[in-house]
Amino acid sequence: MLRQIDLLRIGRPRPTFPRALGAGLVWLLAIGGPLIAQQVAPPDEVDRAFHFIERSTQATELFNAGRAEEALAIFQELSREYADLDEDGFVALSAADAAVELGRTDQARAAYEAALRTHPSLQRSVSERLAELDLAGEITQETLNRLRAEAQLPGAGRVLAGWRLGRALQKQASSLLAEAVRAFRSTAEVQPADAVLRPAMLNHHAAALEELADDLSTLVQHLEGYWPPLRAGNRRAPEKSAGDGPQVVAEQQKATCLLRTRDGRRFEIELRRGPDSRDTQVLVNGKPLELSASEKRLLDRHQERINALLIEAAGRTQTQ
């Protein structure tokens, strides 16, 4: 054993000072690297601010383009790493808005409340967004009671509360009408033909209610789905599919009718329409009649339904 060590020592000359310096330099490179890295200045405040603004701009652009998943990832990253630079809570709020776009209601609600805790100045923004979340989901009695109370309070807030109360009630009415139709039809199914509540009567009534439900559903959908100003947090309108257009298109329409009121007045009505409802012309007793915008819309709505009923009936007749 001793001889092997002696042999090893013979092969290695004793270190002199230059060699020691060389070894020291090796040590220097080994330990100095991390030390030098520590002494390199960390990203300064301007760098951090730049990165925050660049990424926030990118995320906002993605959000506005409907790419909510990608936007959410960036907003969440910024909330974790740059919370100190989110002075006005834009990033915290936007992360919640992106969750709303993705239909993650519970996550969005929690994120809104978290944003409010860290940024109390967001009270109004968060309250409005939470109110819209309530309206987007199932309408509860609690929501209605709260809106009714708010709509009675003095001040500018009552206008917004009244607006939301109307939307909540019509949405609930639409749901209740649909439930009423189901109730009448299911009752008709179990009634014998000669019962006091005849199935035919119940089904006719259900059919009339279905018309009302369909009309109301269309109104609600138009208001909630396609009017941009209503969408809190920039929610985009649902994409219209090819099937969203009217089922039947009236290429040409011409109708005449002779109407008599209870007090004996007679009206000869002549209606002409092309494929564009703006081409509608109405003559009453030979004279042109100017309709208001809402009258035209109602006329269109009912005429579309009449046309669809006729087509459905014609189709049923042809298959029999």
Partner: protein, 369 residues
Amino acid sequence: MKRMLIATIVCGCVGPALMAAEPAGQPESVEFKFNFEPDRVIRQRVVTKSFGTISMASPMPEQKFSQVFEQTLTSRCRKVNADKSAVLDVSLDDLVMKMSIGPMSMEYDSRTFDPEKTTDPMTRLLGKIFSAMAGAKFTVTMSETGQPLKVEGLGDTLRKAAKATNDPQGGEWAEVSKLFDQLGSLFDDETMGQQMQSMYRMSPQKKGPIKVGDRWEQDWSMKMPIVSGELTGKGEYELLGVQELRGRPCAKVRVKETFVLVPKPKEANKAATGMQAVLDRMEMELSSSGGEGVAYIDYQRGELVQLRQTQSFTIKITVKSDPNAQDAMGKVGMELTQKLRNSVTMDLLEGDAPAPAAQTRPASDAVNP
């Protein structure tokens, strides 16, 4: 062994300190000079990135806003006068903009924009305006200390932009076209010259050496004819150090600037109609915070090598209601608040652009006796 250990310890302790030390020979003070050279060309790229919100009165929900704006400017020194002032030919080159407001978006690139292929009327209108601005040329006369003394030709650029918006068929943009026509007359060269003065505030006004740690301040104001207000700015600057950036000796300057726009009362012009009537009833308030950044200035040439600055703005626009207005919006009025954060980067692009091939410099363009 012992010597080796001692040497190692010494190197380990001293080495990092040596490596972190400033290179020898860095000056502790600089003197800003503006050495203009005939035919010298510099190009700068400006990139602005912004995000924020636009809010209107309830029940309208707030919209998210984003914008990225890039432009290149080229400046060629046409001549240096005997008093060491200089005449520079400046052109606004490539312009790229991308903007989104809620679900609406717009993109413009001066290199590829074709109005005939653009169907969206807003994009077509703004594209025409930007196209008129991109490639615009004007002349700036600079003092020996880098202060803009005179601007010529920029007013023509705006009038050209106004004409570009003109739709011969009238239509919904006819009012906007008239607006730009009116704006063009408000932004004359003298007004623009006053506004450009504010761009050279980062260099200290006093002559002589500036030491590291020295601070200076600047106050400035600009008229805002559109909203009958005055924009006042305040800047604080500090020489942080002297270092080389992109091969140039630079003064590193800390920048902190804030702005305030205060509207001034104005008399309504009862004869005004359309867009002018709206402007007469409009008031704008603007305030900023933050405004911090760092500038690297080549102190031997007086050229801005790099600026990086961030800012937060709040802009509030109010249009008062007018019971006698013809349109529904005029009767109701409007209030809009925009809050945004923005970053600005200005970079000197290295590599002088070649002088125009057909252009020759007359003898009189040399330094005037």
